[in-house]
Amino acid sequence: MGAAAAPAEARTVTIDGVGMDFAVKGGTFTALDDIALELPEGGFTTLLGPSGCGKSTLLRIIADVIEPTRGTVDLFGMTPRQARTSGLFGFVFQDPVLLPWRSALGNVELPLEAQGVPKAERRERAMAQLQLVGLDGFEDRLPAKLSGGMARRVAIARALVVEPSILFLDEPFNGLDELRRRQMNVELQRIWAASGTTALLVTHNVAEAVFLSDTVIVMGRNPGHVIERRTIDLPRPRDIDNALSADFIAHEQELTQLLSGDYRSVVDE
């Protein structure tokens, strides 16, 4: 595929030849090797893989939290740093990471404060976002008085309040029980569809990846690499019952097989 064939203003995220080495005792550990990816705008892409495949590292490289050893990342024609400092990112961490002295509303307003948005507008946009995640009426609660699921909704609202061009989700429902996780997946799908943003999710949960994604990137270990890119063409909106359909289960099985293939290859070494 010639680069010249693509329109110059291609609104995609392109990752090319990205590698990451970490210095360890007596040498270097290669966490990621020669990753090449393209994330379509407005799509929901998931990095799926076992622990230690470097999926979180890859997410952090794209989000400019860390810098890669090799390779380039292009976000809509910008470097990751330019995109980050222009406020194009929304980021949801493994834990909600809310400021305990701020109310739910205050936490959602935080990114807007960083961007210097005036107070009245800040309040209005944060309230609208809390409404979108289903938390109107809870805006004055401190994080200690929110349930685990509610705290995660606040974290999602905080990520979306800046109307990001790309939403990073780093195992956002880690630690929730399975039922709550599925409920949050349905919610996330709705919220993401309403926002129209490009989303990049990291997870090791196969069902979560199939349920949410347009595209699943399966990753393997030693060093972290892409095994396969798979399109999930299930119709949207998807609901919990869809997870029982034959198509859904077929996707789930094939992805699980790819992952266990990687697992076996590691065990054999």
């Binding site: 989000a63 400019d64 939290v65 980050r84 400092t85 406020g87 990112f89 980021f91 961490f93 834990d95 990471v97 400021l99 305990p100 002295w101 935080l110 990114p111 404060e113 960083a114 401190l142 994080p143 200690a144 008085k145 990073f168």
Partner: protein
């Protein structure tokens, strides 16, 4: 039988101790008796309340000013240590060395150079107060949640904005814990400085009643000083709760 409510047991113990103290104090009434019974102390308190109040006021204002300067310097230094690691490390070491000098040893030369007035007391109080604040605050800033740092990076917040909106509020509980140590330290520092020579203050009262063999007054001053020290701790405890109510409530939850 139902168990006694919690505060009753220590209170009962305290009352028993007072009674025992009174009885022993009354029994040993020989001249120069070491143990002054509480009744005599209360009596002295009644007779000398004005002098005690006046001198306590002097010592408290010296300690208060010293505390203010000392903790202000410590807060600035802690931020410098945090912001400029290399310069900060050196300054931190220097602060450690200064703190290693015993207060009583530094009080003498400071009084000699600053005079018998208030300045030397404020200086000793400040020197006693800065260290707990510096150590606590530097530690609290250093051990801050790395996930919060990541959040500030993703949000492209600069050092100052991150410090003011995310890090400063997080260290408020640690700051007030350090005040609970620094406050009494400043108070004791002021008293020690007064021993070296002063025009007034609880330290002067202590020295004078010692040289006059006025043992009841000696004990009374001691008790007043102890009470004030306790009040200082209580004050910062209450202020700390008011300043960071979220800290308290989160502890109750988990």
């Amino acid at each position: 039988m139902r168990a006694l409510p919690r505060p009753v047991i220590p209170a009962l113990f305290f009352v028993l101790l007072l009674v025992a103290w009174q009885l022993v104090g009354q029994a040993v009434t020989a001249p120069g008796a070491v143990l002054i019974p509480p009744s005599t102390i209360v009596e002295t308190l009644g007779q000398r309340w004005y002098a005690l109040l006046l001198n306590a006021g002097i010592t408290l204002s010296e300690a208060g000013l010293g505390f203010l300067y000392g903790s202000l310097a410590a807060i600035i230094l802690a931020v410098v240590v945090d912001r400029f690691r290399i310069v900060g490390e050196g300054l931190y070491r220097l602060a450690l060395v200064i703190y290693a000098i015993p207060v009583i040893a530094i009080a003498a030369p400071l009084t000699a150079s600053l005079g018998l007035g208030m300045e030397s007391k404020v200086a000793v109080a400040a020197l006693s107060a800065y260290f707990p604040v510096l150590v606590n605050l530097t530690g609290a800033l250093r051990t801050l949640d790395p996930r919060v740092q990541e959040l500030s990076r993703v949000l492209a917040m600069g050092y100052t904005r991150t410090l003011l909106t995310m890090r400063a509020p997080a260290v408020v509980p640690a700051l007030f814990s350090s005040f609970k140590i620094a406050g009494p330290a400043a108070f004791i520092g002021a008293i020690i400085a007064e021993w070296m020579g002063a025009e007034g203050g609880l330290g002067v009262m202590l020295i004078q009643s010692m040289f006059n063999f006025n043992v009841p007054l000696l004990w009374t001053v001691l008790l007043v000083a102890t009470g004030l020290n306790g009040l200082i701790v209580l004050l910062f405890d209450v202020l700390g709760r008011l300043a960071a109510p979220w800290h308290d409530s989160s502890k109750e939850q988990s």
